[in-house]
Amino acid sequence: ARGIKFNYRLKWLFNTSVAGDIYADAKGFFRDVGLDVTVKEGSPEKNAINELELGYAAFGVASADQVIRALDKGAKIFVIAQLFQVNPMQWIYRTDQPEIKTLQDLKGRNIGITFGGNDETIMNTLFAKAGITKKDVTITGVRFDFTPFFMRKVDVWPVYRNSQGVILKDKLAREGEGVYFFNPADFGVNFVANSVVTSEAMMKNNPDLVEKFLNALLKGWEDAMDPAKEAETLEAIKKLDKGTNDAIRKNQLSVTRSLIKPSVSIKIGTIDIAAWKQTEEMMLKEKQIKKSVNIETRLIQIK
């Protein structure tokens, strides 16, 4: 038997930040439990939650803001695991600038923000927290290319810490420039990042399948984050992500580890309910959703 066939839609392209997903697939963890899973890359235009509803996928990875927004609009979905314990969305800046030790240090800087993106919500929350008004900083809209940061037109630029962050750090290091990262979590703002989601129907009708899938997936993640299995993990990633060189991939993996499993005691997949609530609150305050969605009722920690 080939097992039950379905798709698993990721949030982003294959690279080190989806190491566990790749690993579980490569090592046949899904096959072992009788599942025939196709792991598919994501992109901004492809939305896992849509695919759950349309039946194109049975499971997917979505960011917390996507989940909350979808719930706000009546989507029937559940979060079954939280992959990132620390949000990789952080800001990079050069070491020839003073380090940001308190939020007040943000004042006077030219900060990049993706209008409409999570980073806008996060940064606005930080500003509110520190009592910083738009007059105290310069905000520049950010696109997909880093040229304004490279050209020093913008000082503080949003990046995904474990993928782009590593690449940029390396690039600048080659020119003899050092970088810092500004992590909002250090200042008490925990905006949840990627989580595994599935549909209400799936939860109801196929709880066994959900459990089987998730266990296989989390096993993949645990192994992938295990420093002892680093070589194997890197090997599996390399097959799908040829564009990155080995050294960078290695660095990316170690950063990813610190975001997925910040300490040995935390089990991968743990849903940080407090952080979810904070995320919902932030979005409510920013008028990204109209009403509370009671996010805690949609979080199911599967043992």
Binding site: P44, E45, N47, I49, N50, E53, L54, D65, Q66, R69, A70, D72, K73, G74, A75, K76, T114, F115, G116, G117, G141, R143, F144, D145, T147, P148, M151, K153, Q288
Partner: protein, 255 residues
């Protein structure tokens, strides 16, 4: 003409939306995947005013960009019409630039021009000029022998005259292409805004996309459609007038 364009657009839009809603009901999809009628109406109420200004902002760039691309297409088309080495070289350049997806060129454009108005205009006209160029090349490379013969044999042929003759003889083709390219200019501007600007409807679409807000996108598409229909209608009317003024209804039309 103008009114016809507008209500025809309304029909097209309504049909498309109805189709989406049928899918929504058929598959009982949530508002997140395909927004329902109330959500769209509510969203329209919230953003309509803002989007109108955005679209007009975009249109103003599109009009400029179209003008620029007409100039560009004629320049390249006229200088590339000969099958000489230099003519084919110009064509190769023009074609190659086109082949590059604008997203790949965007970082380079940014390095050279910074962001803001200029790159937005540049991207719009780069997307718009090529189809114009193709038509103009085709027209400019085809001799009108029975008119040109005299000027050639008497040594009176100048490139300006040649261009004028060929343009005139293909006036209706040219006006079709030019007024049709308005939509390309608009699409080009929106793409430009999408990747390089902090204003315009393209920028608003990008934000809506980040938030997976299909309702906003549907409202934006509606605004774009209406404005395009109006702009296009005006251009077509102008084209007719130019045709009637410059040329004269042919014999065959009268009898």
């Amino acid at each position: 003409m103008l009114f016809r364009r507008i209500y025809q657009f309304l029909i097209v839009y309504m049909v498309a939306i109805a189709f989406l809603w049928m899918i929504k009901m058929g598959l009982s999809l949530s508002d997140y995947v395909i927004p329902g009628i109330f959500l769209v109406a509510e969203t329209a109420g919230q953003v309509a005013e803002e989007y109108v200004f955005d679209v007009i902002n975009t249109l103003s760039i599109a009009v400029l960009g179209q003008a620029l691309s007409i100039v560009l297409a004629f320049t390249v088309g006229i200088s590339g019409r000969k099958s000489s080495w230099i003519g084919s070289f110009i064509k190769v350049t023009a074609y190659n630039i086109q082949a590059y997806p604008i997203v790949a060129l965007a970082p380079i454009i940014f390095i050279l021009l910074g962001d803001g108005f200029i790159p937005r205009l540049l991207i719009a006209s780069m997307i718009c000029y090529f189809p114009l160029l193709l038509s103009i090349l085709g027209i400019m490379a085809t001799p009108v022998e029975d008119i040109e013969h005299f000027y050639i044999v008497t040594g009176r042929m100048r490139w300006q005259l040649e261009v004028k003759i060929r343009a005139f003889e293909n006036l209706s083709k040219l006006t079709t292409v030019i007024s049709g390219s308005a939509t390309l200019a608009m699409a080009g501007t929106i793409v430009g805004e999408f990747i390089a600007a902090n204003a315009g409807i393209g920028y608003s679409i990008r934000i809506a996309l980040y938030q997976s807000d299909i309702a906003k996108i549907l409202v934006a598409l509606f605004m774009i459609g209406i404005i395009i229909s109006i702009y296009q209608g005006i251009l077509e009317t102008m084209g007719e007038q130019i045709k009637n003024k410059w040329s004269i209804s042919k014999e065959g039309v009268v009898l």
